[in-house]
């Protein structure tokens, strides 16, 4: 059994599992929901970066998704940019708008910062609705082009799934690298005790702004992906309720954890879809919120730190049961051989 390791890092299992997922999932509806979950994974990771790692309560992530989405969509529609350059531009737009809001608001702490980000999110939505010459207002931007790579034009959900997977991997790899660097440590220190961090020479304000910008950049990327995937982007694509949903996913997964975004997004984004057959139309939305409330209630009572807690350590899954199973089978084969002799 020497070829089988004793334990394996959970992220490799997740990676292999998600690479094989479209081979198992045959239903387009399920794949659609999975892509939606994937978008929420990126958004939860983005929010977690600023809230969980840098400790700043940000609530309006939808604003940056909207800004990124519109930037990407408009560049593709009006300026014939390819999806790939538009994706980068959307991320940059998220970063820059995060910079503007961050510079202005990150001197505030706690609840006040939460309120400002929430307000900003509404401002962005209202501007998107009323800036009709550019955004076509509530009608949204239809016909957003699909990505093309080496002459292959995306159609159907499977290529989008792999594109999203690449984005998730990009998000996770970059977040992990930042987290275990001088920059990430400084962010964690600010979260734990801002004035002690400052006393150690950490420029707290600058680092908070930077963390906020990076978080917003991920949201911008997700916005461009969403715009191209649905080919329609409107002020309603990402709203306040989505921001709250992402915050709840982050809380459920574990604020300040490295892998908590997965359980958080999977549970909260899939449950309403699982319950969809039992309800009709408008009731889905209200049921979804009731469900969220119920989950949060149980969470607060039984596991206030969230599913993954505050863990940034790699998670290992023991392979001992499988090793034992193999060994037992091997023993049986040996016994049979002996019996034959």
């Amino acid at each position: 059994m020497s070829w089988l390791p004793h334990k394996v890092n959970l992220k490799w299992i997740l990676l292999v599992g998600s690479l094989l997922l479209p081979l198992v999932v045959r239903s387009p509806f399920v794949l659609h929901v999975i892509i939606l979950i994937g978008i929420y994974v990126i958004l939860t990771d983005a929010l977690n970066f600023v809230t969980g790692f840098a400790g700043q309560l940000a609530l309006g992530i939808a604003a940056f998704v909207t800004i990124g989405g519109y930037t990407g969509a408009l560049l593709m529609l009006n300026n014939d940019w390819s999806f790939w350059t538009a994706l980068v531009a959307g991320g940059a737009a998220g970063f820059l708008s995060g910079l503007i809001l961050g510079v202005l608001s990150l001197r505030l702490r706690g609840d006040y910062l939460g309120m400002v980000t929430l307000g900003f999110s509404e401002i962005v939505r209202i501007v998107a609705i009323n800036l009709v010459p550019v955004t076509r207002g509530p009608m949204g931007l239809p016909g957003i082009p699909r990505p093309e790579i080496l002459g292959y034009l995306f159609h159907g959900d499977i290529p989008y799934y792999y594109l999203l997977l690449a984005l998730i991997i990009f998000t996770h790899v970059t977040i992990e690298r930042m987290l275990f660097s001088r920059f990430g440590r400084a962010c964690l220190a600010i979260r734990d005790d801002e004035s002690a961090a400052a006393a150690m020479g950490v420029q707290a304000y600058q680092y908070k702004v930077l963390a906020f910008c990076i978080s917003s950049a991920y949201a911008g990327l997700a916005g461009v992906f969403y715009a191209s995937w649905t080919t329609l982007f409107s002020p309603d694509s990402f709203q306040l309720v989505d921001s709250i949903m992402v915050s709840v996913m982050n809380t459920l997964g574990g604020i300040g954890s490295l892998l908590g975004s997965f359980p958080g997004a999977v549970i909260l984004a899939s449950l309403p879809e699982i319950f969809r057959p039992f309800t009709t139309g408008a009731r889905v939305a209200s049921l979804r919120l009731a469900l969220v409330g119920l989950i949060m209630l149980f969470l607060v009572i039984f596991r206030p730190q969230g599913i993954a807690g505050m863990s940034i350590d790699p998670v290992f899954i023991s392979l001992e049961p499988i090793r034992r199973w193999f060994t037992r089978r091997q023993d049986k084969v040996d016994e049979n051989k002996e019996a034959k002799q």
Partner: protein, 263 residues
């Protein structure tokens, strides 16, 4: 001895309350200066003024001849001043190693882009920083706890983490704010020896705020006494202990009138 830190008429007022009033103080290289005074005398406020937490209202502070009284905290740390806190302020959710690495923040350079690219130079810098951090943790005897969460350590070890973190910033002047707070007699005795060791072996100049006379008196080369924001006495521990103003500040004027007045 050369002069390391000088405060000139440092005043800090919070509205109408003058917490530190016209304080002149000189710390020479290699000395241990004890800063004592009753509760609310302005000792910690003076600390905060020196380390750049508060902008001072008037006066100047010089470190190695350079003016630091208008600098931000990070530049002051970079120049070679680092502090510990009166109430324990380690980063609870981080490991001991991470805590000490944050002390080295100003001594490393890697930024976000370096982190994302993880170029060999950045990786090497991170490795060097870890080795150095382990060195400081070894000095304080907490190296084998490197991967424990700081909050899981016993109180005395948490204090050690804080000192290791401050040492990792490679300061020339170490500012210790009541390091003996919450310690019993034996622990504070060990602390006294440790402070002397820091001074002699690590060649650190130390500014020590302390209530506990058992800690200050044996180690301090010079003692400065603050009361109501003002410097009321300065000198060797014995000189200060005999000063009438100091006894008055600590024990009240009635005590001086009754017990000492007759003599």
């Amino acid at each position: 001895m050369t002069e390391l830190l000088r405060t000139e008429k440092v005043t800090k007022a919070f509205g109408g309350l003058v917490a530190v009033n016209d304080v002149d103080m000189v710390i020479d290289e290699g000395m241990i200066l004890g800063l004592i005074g009753p509760n609310g005398a302005g000792k910690t406020t003076l600390f905060n003024c020196i380390t750049g937490v508060y902008p001072i209202t008037s006066g100047e502070i010089y470190f190695k001849g350079e003016r630091i009284s208008r600098l931000k905290q990070d530049s002051i740390v970079r120049k070679g001043l680092c502090r510990t806190f009166q109430e324990l302020r380690i980063f609870k959710n981080l490991t001991v190693l991470q805590n000490v690495l944050i002390g080295m923040h100003t001594r490393c350079k890697g930024n976000v882009v370096d982190a994302i690219l993880s170029l060999p130079g950045t990786v090497a810098e991170e490795k060097r920083a870890k080795e150095k951090a382990l060195h400081y943790m070894n000095l304080l005897g907490i190296a084998e706890r490197a991967d424990f969460k700081a909050v899981s350590l016993p109180y005395a070890d948490q204090r050690r983490v804080e000192v290791a973190r401050a040492l990792a910033a490679e300061p020339e002047l170490l500012l210790l704010d009541e390091p003996a707070a919450g310690m019993n007699v034996r622990e504070s005795h060990t602390l006294t020896e440790f402070i002397q060791w820091l001074n002699k072996e690590m060649k650190k100049t130390i500014l020590l705020i302390e209530h506990n006379m058992r800690v200050v008196m044996p180690v301090a080369h010079k003692v400065t006494v603050l009361n109501m924001g003002k410097k009321i006495a300065e000198g060797t521990p014995t000189q200060v202990q005999g000063s009438k103003e100091v006894i008055e500040a600590y024990l009240g004027s009635d005590y001086v009138a009754h017990e000492l007045g007759d003599k």
